[in-house]
Amino acid sequence: MNKTLTINLANSIFNIDENAYQALQRYLEAVKKYLTGTQGNEEILADVEARISELFSEKLTTEKQVIILQDVEQIIQVMGQPEDYSIDEDIFDETPKSNTKTSTRVKKLYRDGDQKLMGGVCSGIGHYLSIDPLWIRLLFIVFLFGGGFSVITYIILWAIVPEASTTAQKLDMQGEAANLSNIEKKIKEGFDSVADTVKNADYKGVENAVKDGGNSFVKALGDFIGVIFSTIGKIISTVFNLFGKFIGLLLILIGSATLLGLFFGLFTVGILDLSNLSGVQFFPLVNASELPIWLLSILLFLAIGIPFYGLLYIGLTVITKNLKKMGNITKVSLFSIWFVSVGCLIFYGIKQANSFSVRGNQIEQISLIDGNSTGIQVPDTLYLKAKSSEHFEYLNHNYFDGITMSYDTNGNEVLYSKRVSVNIKNTVDNSVSIKTYKSANGYSYEEAKNRASALLYNVEQIGKTIYFDDYFTSAPHQKMRNQKIEMSLIIPNGTVVKIDPSMSEMMGWENKNDQDMYRKDLHNETWRMGNNGVLECMTCNSSMD
């Protein structure tokens, strides 16, 4: 015995079993939900009801007065699943429609134009996560103080996530959340169907006496186990879904953080040309080509930024699913831009390396005291002193490979370096002279040699004292190309040398001495040039040997 309802379907009256009625109602609800947003949906629904009513009439005879569940199921097969009611936009949609029989909506991320403060991004996320948009807004504001991260994220989401405009999209936006109460509902639905099967089994059991009773019970048990398995399956897929979303979120974080960092790191420096910042001021000195710093910044931004934008995009597709699709043209042009910028950077790198490829030098010899030609007695004791520039010493410098950009007394830019070294060597002649080796790198030997000879350096002799400048300068257009000055002070054998402490930094690696003393410690003692070119210590304690 079944309870029967009387319904009015398209102005016809039908008697219908309760379970059949429920199935019919679920079906019509599903169709209605599916058609929401379609133009003339109510009219379509009325037509559908009229057709079902007609089909019902065909099912009824004088012996059969009531519509049963089987009738409804057959009619649903004739009419088709809710998805079959879509005819309009999606005809050539490549993705096959899922054939789920339930009418649950998959939640999609949209911007909510009805509850927006700016672009409706926060309220959209709020709907998606089923929480009050206030919390999302708060989160965005918190991140705003954490380096402005949320501004970029917000702008990107605003641009990429579509706004929910149709009713269907608004329903999609609010959708049914994959939360606990829904999982619970699903499980309950499963149990209900089990209960139904058990009921039916009982009914059949009475009809077929003892014979089929056992089998029916087995069937019910099988159904019950099936429901449990499908429920577990649903829970697992939900968990995996969440895990995937987490990965997606991570990708978005990495992508947008990198883009943000690049943006501030390169664009601000490059575009605004903050060349007085320490670090940046070396750029024009190192730079080999005529490539301006802003162009290099943009190239770097593109070469690094585009792959990270790709990561960000992948993350967003994982999270939102209904992202505006990136067109092939966009993809190809992004890739080409990336390819070109990488190519330019490689070219630039090669050019840069090339500008250091050859080393050239310029040798100058100055005779300080020539005892042979002038007849002047070479002094038996020479004093070596360093002379530093008061002007340059006063300025603060950030050295890049020992060279820096500074300003001369007139305020003009000038290259300034302390890469100067002095080695003491011997000669059999009765004269004191200085050999200056100036060297630098360049594209070609000629260019390197010219650059080397452009170095400005002074050495001066006053009485018995020789003053060495502890620095050299050059024009800024000569750029930083590993410029260096090495000097040989050539003195007759037997000359005594006293080295001022100011020279300690300048003493070269080739100063041989019989004490194996470190070059910077040479100034502590008095030395005499030996016949073999090795400085002999005159003041060292002989007991040290």
């Binding site: 398209a10 169709v31 009219e43 559908v48 088709g80 005809i91």
Partner: protein
């Protein structure tokens, strides 16, 4: 690629044209239209046709009137409008061209 999907797309593409053709010269109500389409195996499930009919009606290609029926409630009879007839004529030309083209290509 799903073969069922492709088949469905092909069918759906010509469905509007077929509905207009069925109504050419004779007014029919939904069930009769369904009958013809199902006989021709153009329709798998009936549900598909209702949104289509409403769309064609909203586009001004079809009009309908209610007619009493001897058995059951009144029926909705659909008829081609003048615009619909012109539309159909144009589709006829296109279809013939398309048919020839497909035959030529698949021969």
């Amino acid at each position: 690629m799903n073969i069922e999907n492709t088949k469905a797309q092909m069918r759906k593409g010509v469905l509007e044209y077929c509905i207009l053709s069925i109504l050419n010269g004779e007014d029919k109500y939904a069930s009769e239209i369904l009958e013809s389409l199902k006989d021709a195996k153009l329709l798998v499930v009936e549900g598909t046709i209702y949104p289509l009919l409403t769309r064609l009606k909203n586009a001004g290609l079809l009009a309908y009137r209610w007619e009493e029926s001897s058995s059951g409630p009144p029926r909705k009879y659909y008829a081609l409008t003048e615009t619909g007839k012109l539309f159909l004529k144009e589709l006829d030309t296109t279809w013939n061209a398309l048919k020839n083209a497909v035959q030529l290509v698949t021969k």
